[in-house]
């Protein structure tokens, strides 16, 4: 397993690129790459050549997260102004604007079936679930406060929810917080199940293995990537190697590898059998905020692709094999 650089686009955005995701292929077109940036735009790129397809404006502050519907036709972007803009990928027409004050908006993910959009609610210590047909909130998954915090205490911000991930069967949601804990919810019952402990700094990114609905990967500012048995509350493994915060993690479609991006400006590829870093890409010149494997589908199913985005305003595309 290895990564081979295909193309890099310098100055892909006017400012730091913070978010990346793939919109899956539809009947009429191959997969597209969506990137969100501090320059308040979302840009749509044609894959492999990374040709700029469109620039979507409409946010007033930096775009912190982008998420694509599994069918590939719609996508959502969220910015620091706490708005979520749901739009049609191909036409850029706005489908809905979501807002749930007072909670701000961080990472978002569509569920595997595409019927719910989960939005990490930051300081509200909750995850909001939006129905993708009516665009109404169907549930709010709140992290229970364990110890009654004193009003003066700043511990209220401890359960600040940054990241969110769906299990491949769509039954579970895991969310990562500023204090390093990961909370697991039952979606159907909208019920909090348990915490996963092990990180001590913010968990900025989470992803479930595509095949094992129990296996969860998390990236944290403490420089480690953890593997959890999300049902059994057990820490299976720790993978360390990054010299600074690990900002993002994504798992390959074949489930055999994960990729991480870090403040140490590198992208690392980890072999899950060996539980070790097998490759380090250092073509970015600033912290790497996002990595995303291209989902299978479309014409060229075989060839895996990984995209990474960075504060250096650039996008890099790699071949994964």
């Amino acid at each position: 397993m290895k990564l081979a650089g295909i193309k890099s686009v310098d100055n892909a955005h006017d400012d730091s690129v913070w978010a990346v995701t793939w919109a899956p292929a539809t009947a009429t077109r191959p997969p597209l790459l969506l990137t969100g940036s501090l320059d308040e735009t979302v840009r749509v790129w044609k894959s492999d050549e990374l040709i700029l397809d469109r620039t979507n404006t409409g946010h007033c502050l930096g775009v912190a997260s982008v998420a694509a519907h599994p069918l590939g036709s719609i996508a959502a972007s969220s910015s620091l102004d706490s708005f979520v803009r749901v739009f049609d990928v191909d036409s850029n027409s706005t489908i809905a604007t979501l807002e749930a004050p007072p909670s701000e908006v961080w990472q978002m993910r569509f569920d595997p079936k595409g019927s719910i959009l989960a939005v990490a609610g930051g300081g509200s210590a909750s995850v909001n679930l939006w129905d993708t047909s009516t665009w109404q909130i169907v549930a709010t998954l709140s992290i229970p406060r364990v110890e009654g915090p004193k009003p003066s205490d700043k511990s209220g911000s401890k359960k600040f929810v940054l990241s969110v991930a769906w299990s491949p069967d769509g039954k579970r949601i895991a969310c990562g917080s500023m204090d390093g804990t990961i909370s697991v919810f039952d979606v159907q019952l909208a019920k909090f199940l348990h915490h996963l402990e092990g990180h001590f700094m913010p968990v900025r990114s989470l992803v479930y293995s595509p095949y094992d609905p129990r296996l969860l990967f998390s990236a944290s500012d403490d420089g480690n990537v953890h593997m959890y048995d999300a049902e059994g509350k057990a820490l299976i493994g720790t993978m360390s190697g990054h010299a600074s915060w690990v900002l993002c993690v994504d798992v390959s479609p074949d489930g055999a590898a994960i990729a991480t991006g870090s403040s140490d400006r590198t992208v690392r590829l980890w072999d899950l059998n060996m539980r070790a870093s097998v490759q380090t890409m250092s073509n970015h010149t600033d912290q790497v905020w996002g990595v995303a494997f291209r989902p299978p589908g479309g014409n060229d199913v075989r060839s895996g692709r990984l995209a990474s985005v960075s504060d250096d305003k650039s996008i890099s595309l790699y071949d994964y094999s």
Binding site: D15, S16, W18, L38, C60, L61, G62, A64, L80, D81, S82, P101, P102, E104, W106, G122, G123, S124, P151, S152, K154, G156, S157, F160, L162, M178, F200, M201, P202, D221, D222, S240, A243, S244, W245, S263, D264, R265, D286, Q287, D311
Partner: protein
């Protein structure tokens, strides 16, 4: 004759023999050859025996020469006499010339296969050659030929069997020697056999065997006190029982009686070992003393150790010398390698690492997998600064013996400097190994683990580890106490040196015991608790240390001082710190530094400062820093502090110089990471108004030290942009900071303030475009959103903002927003008007031109064709005129200007600018009302918001200060990082050392006063695309004009 010899009357024996061999006898008994040969051989044997037992080299030589002479004489009489050859062989053996001896024996054996003496001799030769089985065969043959042979034969058999590893048979042989010697009355007390048996007993490694062996050894010693082997073994024994005096005596005797290299080497080794361990023993003793005394003054303890060490220095030297002697006796290191090891150890102790290195490497050649040696080598490499090699060796050691906790411990210690994560792992492994092995985990190890966890920010784990290290003790009650309601008690004891609590406890019958080795752990735990904001407990622990261990422990005092400082107990903190400083006679630079810091804080802390006090405090701080600088001219922290004081006083150039120097010094060293100097330097640039440099400095610092992940520095950066009025950059930077630290709502607040300020400043700007105004409106909307979000969130008690403050901001922003909307409308209206005006002007110009052209054409045509075409042209012109007139009429509302425009007629641009300017006067009356209404409160609001921003930043600073304070040991300099910023706050006040900022601000506010007049003057841009779609030329002209205008605005 033989009787004489046996009876020990050696002199008579020799006399007779010598007489028998005198020249006269030779002549007289010329034909009795055999007897003569016998006499000569006896003499030869006598002298070779003498030579053999003689220890002095020269006399030995002489004896051997004499013996040779006699044998030669004997062989002159008869070349083929076997006994002569045997004698010669023996002599050669005694001289150590094994090969020649062998050939001599072989000559005899060729003649007589069963010549017993020759057989024995040959066996001896083979034995020396190391061919033990051959030797054994020969001995056996000798025994068969002559069953009553002396015990020596059986001894030989025993030795051979021993060497061949047939220990049981060897034992039998030795025992038979002893029995035989008794029954045959031959050699009743055969020392060699005894020694051999004793050695075998000793090797059995069982207590009984060893005791038996020692008994035998002692008997052998009593029988014959000069057997070096026996002496060595005895010495060895006494070494282990610790009777160093005996060891020395025995080995010295052994040394004097033997010439055999390996044996001598062994003796030297024993001797050296004895001295070596004597030293260690004394150190051990002092260690035990330390344990017992516990709370002895550290200084006195150090003295004691030094004293013992200096007295033992001599012994080390001696040990070294003897090891060296031992080593010299060894030709090949793999024969006897222990002395190398010992020598290496001594050399390490004496600091001669290079020699030690070569010695240990020799040991390693023989035992490539010896963990101890590997560890020793690792240690040496580390001492020599070759850390990598050290790592290699220690890693090898841990690989070879993965259960050697000690090795992991050492590995961890090695890694601490380079890789804390790996070090922690190593320590943890060591801990589990200790636990598995059922051993008690050393407190030091737990302490190290705790500290590493502490440094990595794993506070809870660190706390557990420290507690584990501490075990049971009085502190447990403090923890529980602190957890329970008795926090009141804790706070009530928060008085300087108030040991009441402990006295109470003692009077309650509770013993307060602090073992000496737990003080460090206690201290670390206290630091940890401090970090965890459990300052009450931390303070108790510090006090405990002070109370129990040492009332003047400067470290604990310093920490306590910092703690009190944090709790705002200024006076107490000062006293404590001063006590710390006094405790070390002002020689502890840390205490002095802390005191300096205290003074500095005292100078800058109050909102309403007393200038006089401030000055004195600053002066004092400077003095203290300078004092530290004098003691340690290279103390970066002191230099940093001094520079901060200079900066505080407004001597920016001086402080800049110092900061730059500190920065250079720090960047030259790998171990010192001082990002704070960079920040301070940036603060100075900032305070001097050199925003561009400050920005660069902050950015470099971020990249160099923080992987761009420190939101605090980003905040500084944002502030710099803010002051530089680069609003967009400021907002961007704040967004980055928010992205990095999402839960820091203060950053959002700041972003809101920045947007508000940006909008306000745009609205106040003299020239702006409708787009700018639109951006302003968007910014304001964002700001409103952010503020209202914050105010909503504050209901959830997420952050500590004053709701009212946010509400004011919301109010102001909405107000501004409504105003901005008016502005926007006005701007858009004006834009339209201008567009229309331009349109009209262009139409006019067009018309003029058309007329002119028509005129020309007319003239030409008139010239050319006066008659026919005239009528047509006139008609056309008239039509044209009509159309133009109609158009004129349609734009009646600007008739007056039309005329003026007509008058000017020249270039469009000038005309318009002038027109605009004139207009502003007209408009002034209209818009003035507007502006005036807004202006006063805008100014007010602006002030308010400035203040807000400042206090907000100050809050930030204070939190930062706290962060830094919490970890003072590592970075007392961190306290100073905020200095520059505090400065800049000061700059905002007009009284402060004025910098460009304030001047600029004044300038700005002046222009603010003037500018409203020009305010709505020239928003010139193409806005109404729908108005004139058709005329491309005109639009082009307009566009360039717009660009020009915006250029000018820039």
């Amino acid at each position: 004759m033989r009787e004489y010899f046996k009876q020990g009357k050696v002199d008579q024996f020799r006399q007779i023999l010598e007489e028998g061999s005198s020249p006269e006898i030779d002549e007289y008994y010329a034909d009795i050859r055999y007897e003569r040969i016998a006499i000569l051989n006896a003499l030869g044997a006598y002298y070779s025996y003498l030579g053999k037992i003689e220890t002095k080299q020269r006399e030995k030589e002489e004896h051997f020469i004499l013996a040779t002479q006699y044998y030669n004489k004997a062989s002159r009489i008869d070349m083929h006499e076997p006994s002569t050859w045997v004698g010669k062989g023996q002599l050669l053996l005694a001289k150590g010339e094994v090969e020649q001896a062998s050939s001599a024996f072989k000559i005899v054996l060729e003649g007589d296969r069963d010549n017993v003496p020759a057989l024995l001799g040959q066996a001896c030769v083979e034995f020396n050659r190391g061919k033990y089985s051959d030797s054994l065969e020969l001995y056996k043959r000798a025994l068969q030929v002559y069953p009553n042979c002396p015990a020596a034969v059986r001894l030989g058999i025993g030795l051979c069997r021993y060497k061949l590893g047939q220990f049981e048979k060897a034992r039998q042989a030795f025992e038979r020697v002893l029995q035989a010697s008794e029954s045959h009355n031959l050699d009743p007390e055969n020392v060699e056999a005894l020694v051999a048996l004793a050695i075998m007993d000793l090797r059995s490694n069982e207590a009984v065997g060893i005791r038996k062996g020692m008994v035998k050894m002692q008997r052998a010693f009593e029988i014959y006190p000069y057997c070096a082997m026996a002496l060595n073994y005895l010495a060895n024994h006494f070494f282990f029982t610790g009777q160093h005096f005996l060891v020395e005596q025995l080995t010295e005797t052994a040394l004097s009686v033997t010439n055999h290299g390996p044996t001598k080497s062994h003796s030297y080794y024993n001797l050296a070992r004895s001295y070596h361990s004597k030293v260690e023993g004394e150190c051990c003793l002092s260690y035990r003393v330390k344990r017992k005394v516990g709370n002895i003054e550290p200084l006195a303890l150090a003295l004691l150790v030094a004293l013992i060490f200096s007295s033992s220095q001599g012994d080390y030297d001696k040990a070294g010398v003897y090891y060296m002697a031992s080593v010299k006796e060894i030709s090949k290191p793999h024969e006897f390698v222990f002395p190398y090891y010992g020598l290496g150890q001594v050399q390490i102790k004496l600091g001669d690492f290079r020699s030690a290195l070569s010695n240990f490497e020799k040991v390693l050649e023989v035992y490539p997998d010896n963990c101890e040696t590997l560890k020793a080598l690792a240690y040496i490499y580390v001492q020599l600064g070759q850390t990598d090699k050290g790592h290699e060796f220690i890693r090898k050691a841990t690989k070879i013996d993965p259960r050697d906790a000690q090795a992991f411990l050492e590995l961890g210690e090695l890694l601490i400097l380079s890789d804390t994560g790996a070090a922690l792992d190593a320590f943890k492994t060591a801990r589990t190994l200790f636990k598995k092995g059922g051993q008690e985990v050393p407190i030091e190890l737990l302490n190290n683990i705790g500290v590493l966890q502490f440094e990595r920010g794993e506070f809870e784990f660190a706390k557990q580890t420290f507690k584990e290290a501490l075990g049971d003790g009085i502190w447990l009650s403090f923890f529980s106490e602190a957890n329970k309601s008795s926090i009141d008690a804790a706070t009530s004891t928060l008085q300087f040196k108030d040991m009441q609590l402990f006295h109470d406890l003692e009077s309650n019958g509770q013993l307060i015991e602090v073992p000496w080795d737990k003080v460090t752990v206690l201290f670390n735990l206290a630091r940890l608790l401090e970090q965890l904001n459990e300052s009450g407990t931390a303070s108790i622990l510090y006090r405990l240390i002070l109370f129990k261990v040492n009332g003047k422990c400067p470290n604990a005092l310093s920490m306590l001082g910092e703690l009190e400082l944090k709790n705002d107990d200024w006076v107490k903190a000062k006293e404590t710190l001063r006590a710390a400083s006094d405790a070390t006679d002002g020689k502890d630079s840390y205490a002095t530094l802390s005191l300096g810091n205290w003074n500095y804080f005292a100078a800058v802390r109050n909102e309403k400062r007393n200038p006089k006090l401030e000055a004195t405090h600053l002066e004092k701080a400077k003095e203290l820093y300078t004092k530290v600088m004098i003691q340690h001219s290279s103390n970066l922290y002191a230099a940093n502090g001094a520079a901060v004081v200079f900066a505080e006083k407004g001597h920016f150039d001086v402080s800049k110089d110092i900061f730059t120097q500190v920065q250079e010094a720090a960047s030259g060293s790998v171990f010192v990471q001082m990002p704070d100097v960079w920040i301070n330097l940036a603060h100075v640039y900032f305070a001097q108004g050199n925003f561009a440099l400050a920005v660069k400095m902050y950015q470099n610092c971020l990249r160099k030290f923080y992987h761009n992940t420190d939101s605090q520095v980003l905040l500084y950066l944002a502030r710099t942009y803010y002051e530089a009025e680069q609003w967009q950059d400021c907002i961007k930077t704040l967004q980055r900071a928010i992205h990095l630290a999402p839960s820091n709502y203060t950053l959002r607040f700041d972003a809101g303030v920045a947007m508000q300020k940006f909008s306000a400043s745009t609205l106040q700007k003299a020239k702006r475009t409708a787009d700018e105004v639109r951006a302003t409106v968007a910014g304001l909307q964002n700001a409103v959103r952010i503020f209202s979000q914050l105010s909503a969130a504050s209901n959830l008690h997420i952050h500590g903002f004053d709701e009212k403050k946010i509400d004011t901001h919301v109010g102001y922003c909405t107000h501004l927003l409504s105003a901005a909307k008016v502005h926007l409308e006005a701007a858009e209206r004006e834009e339209q008007q201008i567009r229309q005006r331009q349109e009209v002007a262009r139409q006019v110009a067009l018309a003029e031109e058309a007329r002119r052209k028509a005129e020309e054409q007319r003239k030409i045509q008139m010239d050319r064709r006066k008659h026919e075409d005239e009528l047509k042209i006139v008609q056309k012109q008239e039509e044209h005129f009509k159309r133009v007139k109609e158009q004129w009429k349609s734009s009646t509302h600007s008739k007056r200007r039309e005329r003026s425009d007509d008058e000017d007629g020249g270039t469009a641009e000038k005309k318009k600018r002038k027109g605009g300017k004139r207009r502003k006067k007209d408009k002034h009356s209209k818009s003035h009302n507007d502006t005036e209404e807004m202006e006063p409160d805008m100014m007010d609001e602006q002030e308010m918001e400035d203040e807000d921003a400042n206090t907000n930043y100050r809050e930030e600073l204070e939190t930062h200060t706290k962060d830094v304070e919490e970890n003072p040991q590592e970075n007392p300099h961190g306290l100073l990082a905020l200095a520059g910023l505090e400065d800049s706050d000061a700059d905002d006040e007009p009284a402060g050392p004025s910098s460009t900022i304030s001047r600029r601000r004044q300038a700005l506010s002046e222009s603010d006063d003037d500018e409203p007049i020009i305010k709505q003057s020239s928003p010139v841009r193409e806005n109404s695309v729908d108005m004139e779609e058709s005329d491309g030329e005109i639009r082009g002209g307009e566009k360039t004009h717009g660009d020009d205008a915006s250029d000018e605005e820039k």
